[in-house]
Amino acid sequence: MNSETIPVQLQPKEYKSAIKPVWCPGCGDFGVLGSLTKALAGLQIQPQNVAIISGIGCSSRMPTYLSTYGFHGVHGRALSVATGLKTARPDLTVIATGGDGDGFSIGGNHFLHTCRRNPDMTYIVMDNQVYGMTKGQASPTTEPNWERGKLTPSGTGINPFQPLVIALASGANFIARCSSSDSNGTARVLMEAIRHPGFSMVQILSPCVTFRPEQRDWKHMLVPSPKEPTSDPAEAARRLLKDHGLYTGVLYVGERPVYQPKLESSIGGVEAFEEEFRL
């Protein structure tokens, strides 16, 4: 038997809310929801000590389906809100969730600078290489020759965004790739990501069965990385640039200092704050 035994009091289902997902049956995001609840149960964090922050898109509905605190916010701004929350409430476990369009296009700039800043939180990007909620347009991670998008019938013709390479170059402290069809493996990686100090970036390849049905094949294409995670950014960059986006697991584990400014208030409480803004 596996020797690591943790007294389990909170079960994964206790992290789910009573609201049922509206995602299309077959959507990979169901698997991610399951993995996230398993990871939180693995950590035995009380739901009231977790905040899930999201932007806009199918996958950004995640906070609705969890019994934790949540904020389903502004398109592309999940990381800004999450950084503010973590700075003000470092005691909370803060997790940002969203999709490839929300995170890398509308929120691309925030993504870069959150990696640079390295706050102690986890960012889960459910990457399906398409804008699903708006009915199937090419996203930043779409292949250049994908011709089924109505706005790009001849493909985009431009290089896809490489989120993990960019995350590494910008300073993310933990980088992993997972598959939504590997619910238990993904749960384990998420638990490691949440535990690791600093900004953890987890890309989860999560098929859009409605607009990219061919992505169902991902589960046959993705393979566990044959190498142990590295803490050498140069080695990590070499690996990420050569793995064709198909290796899963923890790929980089860094040791950068975490961003956490001192919480000394510059104002004298709520009354003083109100006074400052009084018209």
């Binding site: 038997m1 596996n2 690591e4 289902k13 169901f30 398993k38 590997d182 238990n184 566990p224 044959p226």
Partner: protein, 178 residues
């Protein structure tokens, strides 16, 4: 080797461990069927939703059976990824990516049967690799139970016609506006 749940199934060493595995199989099955029922309800496929709900109830009865067999025993506490399943997921709780909002009862039973057959394979493997008499006896009983479930599902499936090609074509596809 990096983090992966694609480990080979190894030998189960005690009756308690086998009961823990059985409990995990049945618990994940109940959750999966309820999740699928919720999905179908959300997409107004009530016939298949009812069927998944029934399957969840049946698996719930199996949980009661395992609970009774576990009375007085201390089962090992394991996290989801500490169970070593072939392919990483428990036999009856695997990926839900075969679900479709237009799926028919035949598909639902096919999906359930796939899980039951995987469970037969799992318990058969446990029996074949058992080094403990109690584990062997219990595993053989579980093989027999799961085989019975497969037969029942096969009979159940005969009541529904096999869907013809194009069953998933929707001439008026839904648009979920939010």
């Amino acid at each position: 080797m990096n983090v992966t749940s694609k480990n080979p199934v190894r030998t189960i060493g005690s009756a308690e461990e086998l009961l823990a595995y059985s409990m995990a199989i049945e618990t994940e099955a109940v959750e999966r069927y309820n999740d699928l029922a919720d999905q179908m309800e959300m997409h107004h496929n009530y016939e298949v939703a009812d069927l998944f709900r029934k399957l969840a109830k049946i698996e719930g009865l199996h949980i009661e059976n395992v609970s009774q067999a576990s009375a007085g025993k201390q089962l090992p506490a394991m996290l989801a990824w500490q169970y070593e399943w072939e392919g990483g997921e428990s036999p009856e709780g695997g990926s839900m990516d075969e679900a479709h909002y237009l799926m028919q009862p035949w598909h639902a039973i096919e999906l359930a049967m796939h899980g039951e057959k995987r469970a037969v394979g799992f318990f058969r493997h446990v029996a074949e690799t058992a080094t403990d008499e109690k584990v062997l006896k219990m595993a053989l009983e579980l093989v027999s139970e799961e085989e019975e479930h497969v037969k029942l599902l096969q009979k159940w499936q005969e009541r529904f016609p096999r869907p013809v090609d194009g069953w998933d074509q929707d001439l008026d596809p839904p648009t979920v506006l939010e």
